[in-house]
């Protein structure tokens, strides 16, 4: 009477319905933090690059290559850019620690 019943996808259906584990949820959260910080960093770069690109011709004609480089460095050293960049690097760094541990 004790017939063997073949799996016929039963296991897959059960596994699909399993609640996501705490570790899985934390991994999703880390990915989200990474993506958001990468997006913020991208926005910061764009905000700085667009006006820079606009003035690039002017800069190139007015200054020597060395002076242009110093001018660019001055733009990057602006407090808002430094602060935003630092926050992004720290957040992304913390979020990526588990990935680095796994990959390295």
């Amino acid at each position: 009477m004790n017939n063997y019943i073949p799996d016929d996808g039963f296991t897959a259906r059960v596994v699909d319905r399993l609640p996501r584990s705490r570790a899985g949820a934390a991994e999703v959260l880390r990915w989200r933090i990474l993506l958001v910080s990468a997006f913020l960093a991208f926005c910061l770069v764009i905000v700085q690059i667009v006006p820079l690109a606009r003035d690039l011709d002017q800069l190139a004609s007015a200054y020597s290559p060395g002076e242009t480089f110093r001018h660019l460095l001055g733009l990057i050293r602006q407090p808002a850019v430094m602060l935003g960049g630092a926050v992004c690097v720290i957040v992304a760094g913390f979020a990526s620690i588990p990935f680095l541990r796994r990959w390295v």
């Binding site: 799996d7 039963f10 399993l18 609640p19 584990s21």
Partner: protein
């Protein structure tokens, strides 16, 4: 093998490993589904629904599994509780003993097929007798294991089992003389 069960359980508890739980499901799905199909008199769809709920409940409560009984026995107990909960709600709407399901497999086989005769005879048992007979006579559990699964005292298991076997003996004897 119980030790393999323990490995998979440890992996689920420590890492939340869905794959390991999948292996546990694979190992025990046949017996759990078989048990529920017998209790539900061959209603395969409902038995599979209840079997899914059984495994999901087992996953959620895996930390409560103490290891004092076999993992399969613990699973059967959850399955029986699921079945009882369903039976209780079904009783509120209709008489559960009136719900008759034809055995979908083997129904086309010859009428003297012993398995089919047995399935038909099982319909004449009460819920308690059927549960006891399914556990002990069909799934080879000891009285003690059946007592754990069904949550009854040992004496109650033996009584229902004896009564169930007696009814089955009479029914099958009756059919063998008429058939």
């Amino acid at each position: 093998m119980p030790s393999q069960d323990a490995d998979f359980i440890a992996r689920v508890l420590v890492h939340g490993d869905h794959h390991a739980f999948g292996e546990l499901v694979k190992r025990h799905q046949s017996l759990v589904r078989n048990l529920l199909r017998t209790w539900l008199r061959g209603d395969q769809a409902r038995a599979d629904d209840l079997a899914q709920e059984t495994f999901l409940k087992a996953y959620r409560n895996l930390r409560q599994f103490s290891g004092q009984v076999q993992f399969s026995t613990w699973l059967y107990k959850i399955a029986y509780n699921e079945f009882r909960a369903w039976a209780r709600s079904a009783r509120e709407h209709e008489n559960i003993d009136d719900i008759v399901h034809e055995p979908s497999e083997a129904s086309g086989q010859a009428s003297h097929d012993f398995r089919e005769d047995l399935t038909r005879a099982m319909r004449h048992l009460s819920l308690e007798e059927r549960s006891a007979v399914t556990c002990c006579a069909m799934h080879g559990m000891t009285h003690q294991e059946a007592s754990e699964v069904l949550g009854w005292p040992l004496g109650t298991v033996k009584t229902h089992l004896l009564r169930g076997k007696e009814i089955l003996r009479n029914r099958l004897a009756e059919w063998s003389t008429t058939g």
